[in-house]
């Protein structure tokens, strides 16, 4: 039941956004991940990540399709979706959190922490993510980088491939928001 709570909050979070002001949406957010090992480096990008920003509450919600990651090699894409992430069972990764001490009236770039729940592969973990928030041409832009341990999200790598996949995956993100109009 505890594992399901973040999903309920996420549903409430998104359903709440259709009618309220001070909301911003990024439909083409970019999330990249990198796995660096001595054997090989693996990189993938997802350019269609959804995020909604509510400045009245300083809250942020993110949802992305795991099948939306693009790899250099299609076989890597296949392994990622079928063997590691199991996209048929867990098609989306989500994050819902609160931006701490964000001041929407300041036009200067701000570096802030976002604290929330990150769900990947059906597992929800608390996450603290550092982000830079800028106002560029009237668009809020959030960028940042953090890392996740694949062990924490129950992602199993066959022993034969363990030297090819990093234990900690580096994740970068960039969201450019437009005002979310009804």
């Amino acid at each position: 039941m505890n594992k399901l709570l973040p999903f309920f909050f996420l549903i409430l979070f998104f359903s709440d956004y259709d009618t309220k002001p001070d909301q911003y949406i990024a439909r083409l957010g970019q999330v990249s991940f990198f796995s660096y090992t001595s054997v090989e480096n693996i990189e993938a990008k997802n350019n269609q990540v959804l995020s909604i920003l509510d400045l009245s509450k300083n809250e942020i919600g993110i949802s992305m399709l795991m099948r939306g990651f693009v790899f250099k090699k299609s076989l890597m894409h296949e392994h990622f979706n079928e063997s590691y992430i199991e996209s048929d069972i867990y098609p989306k990764a989500t994050f819902s959190g609160k931006i701490i001490d964000f001041d929407a009236t300041t036009k200067e770039p701000q570096t802030r922490m976002i604290i929330g729940d990150l769900t990947i592969h059906g597992i929800t973990e608390k996450a603290e993510i550092k982000t830079t928030i800028e106002l560029i041409d009237n668009h809020y832009v959030l960028t940042g980088e953090f890392s996740v341990s694949i062990k924490n999200f129950d992602i199993k790598v066959p022993p034969i491939l363990s030297s090819n996949i990093a234990k900690n995956i580096s994740i970068k993100f960039r969201f450019e928001y437009n005002r979310y109009e009804e």
């Binding site: 439909r27 083409l28 970019q30 054997v39 090989e40 350019n47 090699k73």
Partner: protein, 142 residues
């Protein structure tokens, strides 16, 4: 004896790593050529979005992972993050079909205007607030 075991173990280790390297880096036979791929289904962008909004699970089973052709009105052309993206009108103002275009479509995209009715072919990846399609090509621009 011990030496021969070590040599055999080392040989097996090297062969396994070569196999892994080949499988991950050289064999790429499953890459889809979207031009040649058979279209699984044709539909309108409003209908596709409505299907996902009505029953996402069922729509996933029908469309996700499949090559489909979608006809709709262009509501946005975006070059954000160095990607070439067309967004087709969906069921309402806040929904649509995001088409991430194949790199070979760059010239065709620059001829597209907002309001054009077009047909694109691509691989459906699922639904967030919009249906997401990757590796898209323009079939017709009416």
């Amino acid at each position: 004896m011990r030496k021969s075991v070590k040599i055999i173990s080392l040989a097996v280790f090297i062969v396994i790593n070569i196999c892994i390297y080949i499988s991950l880096n050289l064999s790429d036979i499953k890459a889809i050529d979207i031009n040649k791929a058979l279209t699984f289904k044709n539909t309108e962008s409003e209908v596709l979005v409505a299907n996902f909004m009505t029953d996402e699970k069922q729509a996933d089973e029908i469309y996700t992972g499949k090559v489909i052709e979608i006809t709709g009105t262009v509501k946005e052309v975006s070059f954000l993050n160095n990607r070439n993206t067309l967004i087709l009108q969906g069921k309402d103002k806040n929904s649509g079909v995001i088409c991430d275009m194949n790199a070979n479509q760059i010239d065709a995209i620059h001829k597209i205007s907002i309001g054009d009715k077009i047909t694109v072919k691509g691989i459906c990846k699922g639904f967030l607030k919009d249906v997401v399609m990757l590796n898209c090509i323009i079939i017709t621009n009416n």
